[in-house]
Symmetry: C2
Subunit: 454 residues, 2 copies
């Protein structure tokens, strides 16, 4: 009996066209990572659950895909376990889960290989991760992450290099319409301190983060609700009104944060990052110091940055920051680092929407040789051998068939040239080469053909 097959919710196949585009994206990003001295790493899809749980908060734990133990998985359970319900029986029937991000497996790798790794360790990792989230537009249960991190140094050169990587990657992708927001957690702490909200720092951040959505008045109202004084609110208003280029913004902010050591530290680090970037020959013209930048993740402790398209609504397409103590939970202290994550799916959608993918696919078949009968086929195979010897991606239609069928095949595969091989051609050694884009047809010898296509 045949069955109608389907895909699990929130997962996708990537057919040839998507794959060509994804490979173009991945190889572009990889080439820049490598140029900056980052080394590749891959970790397994499955991790032991004790590596994964407790690292992403309660919500994250619930979104982990858990793998059922193989064999008689119930044999470590009792009917009491069953009666106690899903949550309590899980750990007895499942020991492994699918990885939720690339950061925790990376931390595990560093902790396990601490003696072999060359610190500071620069690694990149491009692999799928899995989250049992409710699928919706742009949110998948299986999706690729594309991360680069440098661990084992506090040098702000790292931040500058990651920002330089952003500039180079998007330049190579011919994508110009984006902005990089840059700040430091320490600036935010300084602002909180200047507003007298240090004790409520995390709620202060959460409220400030809503500025774009709810506006300044509402933000002030909520801040007042958590005990920020009128004087504090006035200071905040002044700070949020700061405008100018990056140097000016940082200068003006330091006038406001003069009394908060952490704030001044954040300003100095931001300035130093920008200075390093200039020395690296980067214009930093897409970078805007954004004093309200908070980034959701609470583990960031220093510089933070995020990239958004400016002409289309797509959300954050790339982001990252500095964090403390990556591997502490795995028994290796003192390893802090800084990272960046390229949001592959959103970058894909962005390039797609802006029509920025290359139209000529250098990876795909360049020419199809026709196949009308056994004699022409034998003849075509010898030509095919010569084309491939020149590394020209080429095919023969594998069966004798009507021209129309072979043309349809070339069309469907977007093959740009078709070489006609009939009895006249075999006799004269001169073949009709059809350009499938223009429809033009011209006569070529094999040598001319090889020259033209290689």
């Amino acid at each position: 009996m045949s069955q109608k097959p389907s895909l699990p919710k929130g997962t996708r196949d990537f057919g040839p066209i998507q794959m060509y585009r994804r490979e173009y994206l991945f190889s572009t990003i990889k080439s820049v990572f490598k140029k900056y001295g980052f080394m590749p790493l891959e970790t397994p899809a499955m991790e032991n659950l004790n590596v994964l749980t407790g690292k992403y908060g309660d919500e994250g734990d619930q979104l982990l895909f858990k793998v059922l133990n193989s064999g008689d998985f119930l044999n470590k359970t009792t009917s009491e376990d069953y009666e106690a319900g899903s949550k309590s029986i899980t750990s007895k029937i499942s020991e492994k889960g699918l990885k939720y991000d690339l950061t925790v497996p990376f931390a595990r790798y560093v902790a396990m290989n601490r003696n072999d790794v060359a610190f500071p360790f620069k690694r990149y990792q491009i692999q799928p991760v899995w989250r049992a989230d409710r699928p919706q537009k742009g949110r998948y249960r299986e999706f690729y992450q594309c991360d680069a991190d440098i661990v084992g140094t506090d040098s702000l050169i790292c931040e500058a290099e990651l920002l330089a990587i952003v500039e180079e990657v998007f330049e190579k992708l011919n994508f110009e319409d984006y902005q990089v927001s840059l700040s430091s957690r320490k600036i935010l702490e300084g602002i909180a301190e200047a507003c007298g909200a240090s004790d409520e720092f995390s709620r202060f951040c959460t409220i400030l983060d809503k500025l774009d959505k709810i506006g300044l008045d509402k933000v002030k109202e909520e801040l007042s609700g958590i005990g920020v004084s009128d004087k504090g609110l006035t200071t905040l208003t002044t700070i949020l009104a700061i405008a100018g280029n990056n140097d000016q913004v940082l200068k003006r902010l330091s006038d406001q944060l003069g009394n908060t050591q952490v704030g001044l530290e954040g300003i100095r680090e931001t300035q130093e990052t920008l200075d390093h970037l200039g020395r690296l020959g980067k214009t930093a013209k897409k970078i805007k110091v954004d004093l309200t930048l908070a980034r959701g993740l609470s583990y960031y402790t220093g510089m933070i940055y995020e990239v958004k398209p400016t002409t289309i609504s797509m959300g954050t397409i790339t982001a990252g920051g500095r964090y403390d103590n990556l591997t502490g939970v795995f028994g290796l202290d003192g390893v802090s680092g800084v990272g960046i994550s390229f949001g592959i799916d959103r970058i894909y959608d962005t390039l797609n929407e802006l029509d920025l993918f290359p139209t000529d696919n250098t990876q795909a078949t360049k020419i199809l040789l026709t196949n009308f009968d056994d004699i022409a086929q034998a003849h075509a195979l010898t030509i095919l051998g010569k084309l491939r010897e020149k590394d020209i991606p080429s095919e023969i239609y594998p069966e004798s068939a009507k021209l129309k069928k072979q043309m349809t095949y070339a069309d469907k595969k977007s093959i740009p040239y078709v070489l006609m091989i009939g009895s006249r051609e075999m006799e004269t050694g001169i073949y009709s080469l059809k350009n499938m884009t223009s429809g033009e047809q011209k006569e070529v010898s094999i040598d001319q053909l090889l020259n033209e296509l290689s």
Copy 2:
């Protein structure tokens, strides 16, 4: 509390050195696939269990990794289900599994996309698969498969192209010491018929497959046990004694199989495959027609082939064959095909053992700039910008540190050059370039440096 992290049994991390080598392997194979007109495909790690189960036999079903439903997975179960045991409760708490191979997901993809796919469809797929097998040397629970298939045509050109791909891939990898065994299931059927064992074909194959291990006498004994007559055994002995080059073997076999239509068909197809290969400009000098080749998988119906190293003991490193009705189980009949699978892990081990991986890693950092203090660091960053503008993979040591520490870093990362940047160098614009392999040091200007390394 910190925990000692570990990896799930049978899974591996791939650190930088392994990754460089794996990427070299994958990109070599991919480039040949593309040259032959194969297009990339990726399918999700998770498939619905109804897609996977029943496709790999009972043993395969047991080796599937099953993913626990998310949320309150017990809510579709009763305590009777629990009492009935693991096997019967599985389908109620798990709907998805990790893919077991690339063939079934490929079949599902073709069935689901039958209207968009250009038939004959040539696709390659390089992705991990998962099997809950007992881990042992060379056998992993998560491992990559690397497959190319052509579906939707019976043309033997496809077989010839896959064999040409084998020749090109191993040539590109500079690996010469291998042999390709080639035969057809139909030849085996012919032999069985000639021996009067057609009714017991599958047991006949199983026994014949043991020839290498148990020897001819034992094989004959076992065949006698399933009812093969003395006359049949004599015929078999004659057939197994056939020697010579491929043309001779096929000719001599056809004298023996003259009365079996299927056998003659197999001989004709084998000969035609070799003829096509010659037309494609391939020598086929590694190919040996092997009349006893059976290949374990019962779904092969036509040509079969496998590749083994000749100078080391590694087993089959690449194999494939023609099969019928790939997608029938998913409601799409008449799609047969032929494929090849490169065994990445074994090929990796083979190249490793024979020391065939390239020693100069063109993907990794080529030069490290030293960092002795803030002034030298600022100076170094401007040089770094110029190196990267020329696409030279390069790094600065991110912190001021003792020379020894920086040299150790370069050594550990196998960076071949180190540029010394001290006050004298900054003054004169002439820098010491140290070759880390030879230990030599020479004086270069920035222009000379850029020329030398690009």
